[in-house]
Amino acid sequence: MSNLSIEAKVGVFVVIGIIILGYMSMRLGKLGFKMDKGYEVKVYFDSASGLEEDVSVEIAGVEVGRVSKVLLEDGKALVILRIDSNVKLRKDVKASIGTRGILGDKYVVLVQGSSAAPLIEPGGRIVSTTTATDLDSLMNVLGEVAKNISTLTRSFANVMGGEKGEASLRSIVDSMQAVAETLNRTVQENNEELVKIIANLSEFSATINEISSKINKGEGSIGKLINEEDTVEKLNGTLASLKEITEKINRGEGSIGKLLNDEETVETLNSTLTSINDYMQKQESFRTYLDYRGEYLFDSNDVKSYLSLRIQPREDKYYLLQVVDDPGGVESVTDITTTTNGVTTTEHIEKKEKNEIKFSAQIAKRYYDLGLRGGIFESTGGFAFDYYLLKDRLTLSMEAFDFDSDSNAHLKFKADFTPFKHLYITSGFDDFISDEGNESFFIGAGINFLDEDITTILSDLPFYK
């Protein structure tokens, strides 16, 4: 040491001091060599109680930045966070104030949201904040509850009496008046419709009147039923026996009576009703469509009508019940041979019954865009293919039925197009390999309702504008 110069000794000493200072600074890391200044993000807290500048900001317990500033803005605590630039925050990040240790040091906790959300820009704002449940916030909540209760009682007091209550009552009356006025106006505006409705109603009641007067006079089957002495007596008898039966049931006589008067039965009934209820709820997934279509047959100048009920328990399956009014009717050919005075004449009678009613009952199953149908077609057996296009708005169908031995099968090709919700147009060729001259090009239209729609329309109709 002694051969070192004074300057060297002092220099070494100072360098050691500076090294120690530098080392401690680096370990404490708050000035250090951190060149990375990061970026700032704003967050508003209802209360930043205990939150100091320069406390840590953590995600999952890892420090990702520091609180840069705590300010007051619009009665809320604006906390500016400085986040390390290699940490990306998403827009749905949640911020809260956490408490650490027995001394309750506060720090900011961030919870990252989904990775799908966009990133927060530097200078952006964290929207979602939650207040951590520490003692402070607990007290806050309690205070709020007390406040709410006091407001509640105060508002009760205000409602029950005082000028305010009077005012609110007055405002209620005012609004009622306004409602009445609106109602009045509605009636006036809809006057025409209302008149129509009333006219319809009166017509309807007139019809009913007519019917009931007919019944009174004993006209028609119902009238006869009611006006004939005999019927009345019979009815009386029936009622008497019904009375007898119900009395028996009441007394618990007979099997039904026993059933009904038994506690067990009631329980069973209850459970049955529950299951029926369940079943009915399942029924709601049922779709029932009512469909009417008319086809104008160019060759015979006639209209062929179809009224069908389509019961669709599942998307890919339905049952079709159809009533067809066929103007072509059923053709019957009879040869009547009469022998008069030795002369035999053969009369050839072609009888075409007009307006034959035919029935169809089919089951249909759908595989993707192809549907298969089979069953009764216009009172004969048959099958059909349907092809669904344009999101089911266009349906191409080929039906084949009436495989009689004495004539060609009835083949029908049709295309249904649904431009609007309930309305569709149809076109096709009916019976195109007919050997009886029934082949005809047709064009037509139809309406198709989900039967809930009918209800809706019926109830809505008078108010349609």
């Binding site: 070494v12 000493f13 200072l21 401690m24 708050k30």
Partner: protein, 256 residues
């Protein structure tokens, strides 16, 4: 009555005069700082004397301060399970208070007294008057280098004391009291701010000024031969120590 006033007033007048003389010495030192000739070598010599030669004393003081602090706070913190705070308590106390104050006290005892004795002897042997006749300003040649050296060296000694004290606390806490070393250091890093260290160093520089200024003042105002030198030395140590504690309180109040 007048006698009583004189009796009561003399120390007061003396105190006020003393304060004034110390301030005048400080001001002339500052004014001489910026006037040639600059005797860098003299400053370095004082820096060696104040800093380098005090390092062993300061390190021993610092180490044992940290160690005893760890030992004492451990028993306190154990009562509510806060043993992990021992490290940060030691570090905080060392950097903020104990490092600067103990260093300053040690340096006062070792250097301040030496300054008073040295300058006092020069004063009573009329060497200072000789310097004046050689047109060497005694303030510039004797006082100014000592004050600069003390102001510069005290922070260096303090940082060494801080570090050694924390290491001593670590040794006691981790090796003897079995506190987890990771938590010990993490808590220090967590709680101690760089600001704490810097404020401690500013204090140390201020203490350096106080002890050197008092030492030099007592030295150059010595009267009464060898006895006077002894009295000046004692007075300088006592006054410096008291002023260090008083100023420490006010500095702390201002800084933290």
């Amino acid at each position: 009555m007048i006698r009583f006033l004189e009796f009561a007033g003399r120390p007061l007048v003396f105190f006020v005069e003393e304060c004034g003389r110390i301030m005048l010495l400080l001001l002339s030192t500052i004014s001489w700082m910026f006037r040639p000739p600059f005797r860098i070598r003299v400053i370095f010599k004082q820096m060696e004397f104040v800093g380098v030669n005090s390092v062993i004393v300061v390190m021993i003081t610092g180490a044992f301060t940290g160690m005893v602090l760890a030992l004492q706070t451990y028993h306190g913190f154990r009562m509510f399970g806060g043993e992990s705070l021992v490290g940060s308590t030691v570090a905080l106390s060392m950097t903020r208070e104990l490092g600067p104050v103990f260093t300053a006290l040690m340096v006062t005892g070792r250097v301040g007294s030496a300054m008073a004795a040295e300058l006092g002897t020069m004063k009573v042997t009329e060497q200072i008057d000789a310097l004046n006749t050689m047109s060497v300003n005694p303030i510039q040649y004797l006082v100014m280098p000592r004050i600069i050296a003390a102001i510069l060296m005290l922070p260096v000694l303090t940082i060494i004391s801080d570090f050694v004290g924390i290491v001593g606390g670590y040794f006691v806490g981790v090796n003897l009291l079995k506190i987890n070393s990771g938590i010990f250091i993490a808590k220090i890093i967590d709680i101690v701010d760089l600001e704490d260290i810097f404020n401690g160093l500013i204090k140390a520089a201020f203490f350096g000024l106080i002890l050197s200024l008092i030492g030099c003042y007592k030295g150059i105002s010595t009267i009464g031969g060898a006895e006077g030198v002894g009295r000046a030395t004692t007075q300088s140590v006592v006054l410096s120590s008291v002023l260090i504690f008083i100023s420490d309180y006010f500095l702390t109040a201002v800084m933290f």
